[in-house]
Symmetry: C2
Subunit: 534 residues, 2 copies
């Protein structure tokens, strides 16, 4: 099934906002319906594909079947940009600039190499496309005005197999186009799980997780995706790069970590070898309440540093707790807790292990001032954990603007980072005439720091993308100034690129440019993503 072209997910799962929420938005933020929903898919004014006949033939030769080189309008629209709120606003308004010239569906590493050769020969750029869930402009190539190359979307959906599984070493080799639920299903047949459950879980792919250094909601227990990866195969215009002969090595710089996070700018990831964990037999999620964000963060830090480490560990700030966005299903549910700061604590594993860690973690949380709220808030969170993007569609429908952004820092910098980003967003959007609600949660914890995930809701204003852009820039500046990283798990894309380059520093960025020039001398891969175009 394809994702909703103008929004998120399965169109059948879309639900309108409850009237209570619409009223809240109106009273609190001045959100008024704009009357215009998304334009229809067939109403879009899609220009002809600029693909030449010769290029078309070359791509056909590479993938061997007419069904795997698509130039019809719908296929191209469905591969236009990603799923950030500005992306959605643009496509909903009928803006189809930046369409791919074609969608190519290779099957296997050799076909990817052949497609890249065809692109090089025919002056095409190529954008690897997994689940299409990027929220940072990772699918929107940017070229200097002088570069008139059309681009093809390199859709990896046919590469969706489990290639190998080694139960002794607990490793599996997966193709990049595997969507996460299917990957989990294939691994579950052998009694294993990957344990990677980001909010994009239902649609995102293994290759995308690797390319963007994804982090899932159970990262406290299972680690980040980049920690799960043991090996990668990369198809580049200059040939194949293979990494990962051993779980750990002292043989030079770790090339895996050069491919992870390269966002399609160095090559197309064609296989990923990951570590596996046994399928948990027990899963439990609990709610906890803290008097303040500070108190709650101190409790999370203690568990992250001294254990016992839960599998899931999250903490909403006062505003997010009050609004109840921590659990979209509970907005308007009477009796749901709204005071202080709510935390979600989850444990997965064997029954015995879960019982031991649960008891140990509860003792620590109590010692740190936490109040146990029972399993109900936890299970409610777990049930709704992938539903926030649907909520965003409903918000856009009623004239609200909703977007998220995220960062991470060392623990001692976290309070300053939190205040700086919240203040920057509030000031910029208030100045623009659309005062926002800014909510935040700690979504991922480490021994030495944590991530902060911000959600912003405000009225759309006259031109919502133009309204948002200065606020987003202000948040990015605040992140860098307060010592955070420009992204903890969404990635760089084109949206974060300018701040990313400052974070990497001129020499760091140049080192990556040097790698790109060697692997992609024509600069055909995802131009402008991660590194500046040209």
């Amino acid at each position: 099934m394809d994702m909703l072209w103008s929004g998120w997910g399965d169109p059948a799962k879309a639900t309108p906002l409850p009237d209570s929420v619409t009223a809240l938005l109106r009273d609190l933020l001045g959100v008024v319906p704009r009357g215009t929903g998304p334009v229809g898919l067939t109403d879009l004014d899609v220009p002809e594909s600029p693909l030449t006949a010769a290029a078309h033939r070359a791509l056909l030769d590479a993938v061997g079947d007419a069904a795997h080189v698509r130039t019809d309008a719908e296929s191209r629209v469905r591969h236009t940009r990603g799923k950030s709120t500005p992306d959605l606003l643009r496509i909903r308004s009928g803006d189809v600039t930046g369409l791919p010239a074609a969608v190519v569906l290779p099957d296997g590493h050799d076909e990817v190499l052949a497609v890249l050769r065809a692109c090089a020969a025919h002056g095409l750029a190529a954008v690897p496309f997994g689940g299409g869930t990027s929220v940072v402009g990772g699918l929107a190539p940017e070229r200097p005005a002088s570069d008139r190359r059309p681009f093809v979307a390199l859709d990896l959906r046919r590469m969706d197999r489990l290639l190998a599984l080694d139960p002794v070493s607990r490793t599996a080799t997966l193709q990049p186009g595997l969507r996460a639920p299917r990957a989990e299903a294939l691994l579950a047949e052998h009694g294993f799980t990957l344990g990677h459950f980001p909010q994009s879980y239902e649609w995102a792919t293994i290759g995308g997780f690797a390319a963007a250094r994804s982090s899932g909601q159970a990262s406290a227990g299972y680690g980040r995706f980049d920690e799960m990866v043991l090996g990668l195969t990369l198809a580049t215009p200059e040939g194949t790069l293979e990494t990962g002969r051993a779980p750990r090595s002292a043989a030079g710089p770790d090339l895996r970590q050069l491919v992870l996070g390269s966002e399609g700018a160095f090559g197309v990831i064609t296989s990923v070898t990951v570590r596996l964990r046994p399928l948990p037999t027990t899963r439990v999620h609990e709610g906890w309440r803290f008097a303040s964000f500070e108190e709650g963060a101190a409790a999370l830090r203690r568990l992250a540093q001294d254990g016992p480490r839960p599998t899931v560990l999250r903490l909403s700030d006062e505003t997010e707790t009050l609004i109840g966005l921590a659990q979209p299903d509970a907005i308007g549910v009477p009796g749901a807790s709204r005071a202080g700061c709510q935390a979600i604590v989850g444990h997965e594993g064997t029954a015995e292990d879960v019982a031991r860690r649960r008891e140990g973690a509860a003792a620590v949380l109590r010692e740190c001032g936490g109040t146990y709220l029972g399993e109900e808030p936890g299970e409610r969170w777990a049930h709704g954990r992938y539903s926030a993007p649907y909520l965003r569609d409903a918000l856009l429908d009623v004239g609200a603007f909703a977007e998220t952004l995220e960062t991470a820092a060392f623990w001692s910098r976290l309070p300053g980072l939190y205040a700086a980003v919240r203040d920057a967003l509030t000031a910029a959007l208030t100045e623009a005439g659309t005062p926002p609600l800014v909510m935040c949660h700690v979504s991922h914890v480490y021994e030495n720091g944590a991530s902060l995930y911000f959600t912003v809701v405000c009225a759309q204003g006259e031109d919502p993308v133009a309204h948002w852009t200065p606020a987003k820039h202000a948040a990015n500046e605040a992140i860098l100034a307060a010592g955070g990283t420009i992204s903890h798990h969404h990635g760089v894309g084109t949206d974060h690129r300018d701040w990313y380059l400052r974070e990497a520093g001129p020499l760091g960025a140049d080192a990556l440019r040097a790698v790109k020039r060697r692997l992609d001398p024509a600069g055909l891969l995802n131009p402008g993503v991660l590194l500046p175009p040209g």
Copy 2:
């Protein structure tokens, strides 16, 4: 204090072999004394330093004091090559080819930059020098015949400070020339430990650990050094590269992992930010026995995969157990266990945590066929954990050849890798007329695999370096063929370079070359280390 110039460590700690061992070597391996000990330091025929007066002045300008640019014979000899057995055999025989032209001692990042600029301006190469403990030719630059540049040893010993400590985030920033024991002492004042205890611990430095991707004997509990590093500063001929704003990030490829393992070929590491752990209050080491290496490895795998994870976890094969090299102090001690395979299991932490993990691990080890040997073998191992290199000196003194090498692989490949390397070493040295004793232990465990550490002892033969070279090459070939990595913790240097390049693959090696060309366009940094010279 300086290390013994012709061997390992503190000269006062050198002890001759017990007669029982000398007899064993003679009876088992035909080792006969060669009669000639190392030549004297003052007997060496050290050529004049080729440093020009202009270059000398430029280096003086960079570091500001005549005492910090040394061209005397002893300083230069002490910075010649590293501590592999071939290195020792050469220097003991009076071979002082490949001396540095000077030893330069910068104090701080800016002075390192200035030294690199001086080197670039005066046609000098530079070899970063920490503890001088490389066993893979990491301090022995190799240049094409056409490249007649002298090189300076860039000794970092003056950069030995704790620059910052953040007890909330549990991080510290250390200078690269800090030796490990001093680093531990400085951190202990604040109640923290790094937990990094490789065999080179007493002499090796923080910068060296980072440059060579070191792994310590307590890696099961504390992780590898590359997992401890949160940030790095690199001084390159082209300026400064700084990495590590957050514990984890999705902002592009992880540049930290490009600097880690770069072995001085990309720049000089001038600061390292590391994660800290609380000082353990309890430490215990136990001995265990398994009927076979296979049975023991299965037990280690179970603990590594399902826990509870000990802090130290090692397993000697039958030969190593029989010889007792697992505990050099115990060679010849009556009653010491010699049957089957001995494992060392160590736990560090709070008393409560150690008690819990110890009990849990013991239950697993028993279930896997292990027999508990008590704390005596464990404490004996812990006491002698840094003494093996001293033993090597004593072996060389009586005419024996002793060397180690190591690799890592996924669990399912480990049995094949073990047999292949052992067989290759045995065959090559037997053919050379010096049949060896080949011993092995699992020294580091991970969820998905483990390392193998081999010790080879044989007679020196006519020309011990020439005897060893084909055996070492055969072992390297066996490692690659059996799916292992060419080094798990010793690094690449010049000794492993040719096999490393095959492991990285042509495109991977080219990506690193591209980085080197950008950061070190003149190729002045550690020429021939990691990447081919020129």
